[in-house]
């Protein structure tokens, strides 16, 4: 991609209407994320972390302001283009893993590549490599219900990076696992970031995650309260 930041937010606001009350989830938020960053968004509940990830992930639209991903203004894209952008350039890791329960670990990790129309042999080579990388070799044929929480999150990470996205958005990725598993998962994501240059953007409360981050952005009341680079 180009020289500029992978993600650029300028004066982004998001207002939800609840009955007759307007709730300002984000207020004129501006921020850039460079390629290869390992960034954590933290802040108290209701500070706007998840809203921010939803907007960057093209899952929701900003009320005002501009969000640019790899030079493309998200506000100017239609639903189909947004769907293709999510498929090709954004990886998601969710708190609750959110794997398809009827698919095996291999099939879950393969999903995005299948949607992209990548041919079978290429998919197989890529996915088998990824599953080995995330430590799930030999567990390819297991369904999510036959895997531990940590193993499921590894499958979710493999699915998120399968298409070589510009950024992986991880919403509280360690919230549902014990601290030991969280440590392992963070180690894995750090390794992917360091060795493959995958850009990670986390939202979390977890001090373990914040300790490992090279940049910590603190949100308070929908705006950046502090931005610390390490």
């Amino acid at each position: 991609m180009g020289e500029g930041p992978v993600i650029s937010l300028r004066d982004v606001s998001k207002v939800y209407r609840q009955g007759s009350v307007d709730i300002h989830a984000l207020r004129d938020l501006s921020m850039d994320v460079e390629a290869g960053e390992f960034t954590v968004i933290c802040g108290p509940s209701g500070s706007g972390k998840t809203t921010m990830l939803n907007l960057i992930g093209a899952l929701d639209a900003a009320t005002s302001g501009s969000i640019v991903l790899e030079g493309r203004e998200l506000g100017g894209l239609n639903k189909k283009e947004l769907s293709e952008l999510r498929r090709d350039r954004i990886g998601f890791v969710f708190q609750a893993y959110n794997l398809m329960p009827v698919l095996t670990a291999y099939e879950n990790a393969e999903m995005v590549l299948w949607v992209q129309g990548v041919d079978g042999p290429t998919r197989r080579e890529r996915v088998m490599g990824l599953l080995e990388q995330v430590g799930l070799k030999g567990l390819e044929d297991r369904r999510p219900s036959e895997l531990s929480g940590g193993q499921q999150q590894r499958v979710a990470i493999a699915r998120a990076i399968a298409s070589n996205p510009a950024v992986v958005l991880a919403d509280e990725p360690t919230a549902n696992v014990d601290s030991e598993t969280a440590e392992t998962l963070l180690g894995l994501m750090e390794e992917l970031n360091r060795e493959q240059g995958v850009t990670f953007l986390f939202s979390t409360h977890d001090p373990q995650v914040m300790e490992r981050a090279r940049r910590v952005v603190r949100l308070v009341d929908g705006n950046v309260a502090s931005d610390e680079r390490r």
């Binding site: 899952l59 189909k80 999510r86 959110n98 009827v102 698919l103 099939e107 949607v115 699915r159």
Partner: protein
């Protein structure tokens, strides 16, 4: 392929619900195939009784005979007409019709005497095959007659008994004769059952002192020949050979029954549709539940870039798979049932002989099988399933990923 695999596995996440849904579809399909077969059998039997036994497809009468039937209103030269019809290749036969009082012992009633040549009449009518007891007419036995079964009951006669007929002959004299009952017919139609006496042509002419002419010529259309085309041929042959006659199709003669037969097929489809609507509500409910339970999954699918079209296809495939299962099992279950109703039939007991629009039902109600018997219920099932699955499928496809992912 992946979509199909996902859809198939999704079905068995709640196997009991899938089995109940497929079971209901299967039962509905089986019932509709059976119902269609029985209705087709009944309609076919009615049509066969009407055309093969009673009317033929086309009839020719002297002008005005149908409005005011009379022994004197007759086709002057039926032989010329029959010869002309023979040249067209169409099967035809003439009949003589005359009213009389028939009596046996103390019982008497009015009846229509039908005079015919047994050999030629067999080309156009299967009435000789519809005997309940006794034998059909024999030209060698001029005094032998065959009666409708209710007429025989009214007169208290059976095979071998004597029957007196009284009427006015065409020469003005009193016509009276003694006949012997050769046979009694099965139930065919109200008119035939209650008041028809068949006798050979010579006996009829002798009884009514009628030397020539005929009152009715029955014509059968060729195999697979359109009624309209056959009527045109008959009209041409009639115009070329005789004058003062009118050609009418059976639809002109019995428009009420023709309409009933035409609309009965549509009525079968309407009943099938109503039965399926009940099934559709069940499918809709099951699919809505299946979609509601998986809202978060659909949100994730959409978040990772699966298009709404693919989500729609996934749900439709789940519906299609259930329908395919129901069709496979339903048709398999239909085979022995169809075999039974077609080859054995259902004994409707006392209902046998009941007339519908004047045409009698057989005592054994048999089914019929044609491509429509299977295709009709199957296509309606597919249509209804498609309709029932469409709403949940559209709902899943249009789901907002951000709302769906955070759905509790």
């Amino acid at each position: 392929m992946k979509l199909l695999r996902m859809a198939w596995r999704n079905l068995w996440r709640n196997g009991r619900r899938t089995l109940v849904t497929v079971g209901a579809m299967t039962l509905a399909l089986w019932a509709m195939v059976l119902y269609t077969s029985l209705m087709q059998g009944m309609l076919g039997s009615m049509e066969s009784t009407l055309l093969d036994v009673e009317l033929g497809e086309i009839q020719i009468h002297a002008d005005g005979y149908r409005e005011r039937p009379s022994i004197w209103e007759r086709i002057e030269d039926p032989e010329a007409l029959l010869a002309a019809l023979d040249e067209t290749g169409l099967r035809s036969s003439a009949r003589l019709l005359g009213g009389a009082l028939v009596a046996s012992g103390e019982a008497s009633t009015g009846a229509l005497l039908k005079g015919l040549r047994p050999e030629r009449d067999a080309r156009v009518s299967d009435v000789h095959e519809r005997l309940d007891r006794g034998e059909w007419l024999d030209p060698a036995d001029a005094s032998g007659v065959v009666l409708g079964y209710r007429l025989a009951r009214t007169l208290g006669v059976d095979v071998g008994d004597e029957l007196v007929a009284l009427s006015q002959a065409t020469d003005g004299s009193m016509a009276n004769d003694l006949f012997e009952v050769r046979g009694v017919l099965q139930s065919l139609s109200e008119d035939t059952d209650r008041g028809t006496v068949f006798l050979v042509e010579d006996a009829f002419r002798s009884f009514f002192a009628l030397e020539d002419g005929a009152h009715q010529v029955i014509v059968r259309s060729g195999e697979g020949q359109e009624l309209l085309a056959a009527t045109g041929v008959v009209e041409e042959a009639a115009a070329a050979s005789v004058s003062g006659v009118e050609v009418r199709t059976w639809r002109d003669l019995l428009p009420g029954i023709a309409n009933v037969l035409d609309s009965a097929q549509a009525a079968v489809q309407v009943v099938a549709f109503i039965v399926y609507v009940v099934i559709a509500i069940m499918i809709l409910n099951a699919m809505l539940m299946a979609v509601f339970e998986r809202i978060r999954e659909f949100g994730v699918l959409k978040a990772i870039g699966v298009s709404p079209r693919r989500v729609l296809a996934l749900i439709l495939t789940e519906g299609a798979l259930q329908a395919a299962l129901a069709i496979a099992v339903g048709l398999l279950a239909s085979l022995p049932t169809l075999w039974f109703v077609v080859s054995r039939g259902i004994d409707v007991g006392q209902l046998g002989g009941t007339a519908i629009m004047g045409v009698s039902m057989d005592r054994i109600w048999t089914g019929a099988v044609s491509p429509v018997t299977i295709a009709g219920p199957v296509f309606i099932l597919l249509f209804i399933v498609g309709l029932a699955v469409l709403f949940p499928a559209v709902k899943a496809a249009r789901i907002s990923p951000v709302e769906a992912i955070h759905h509790q």
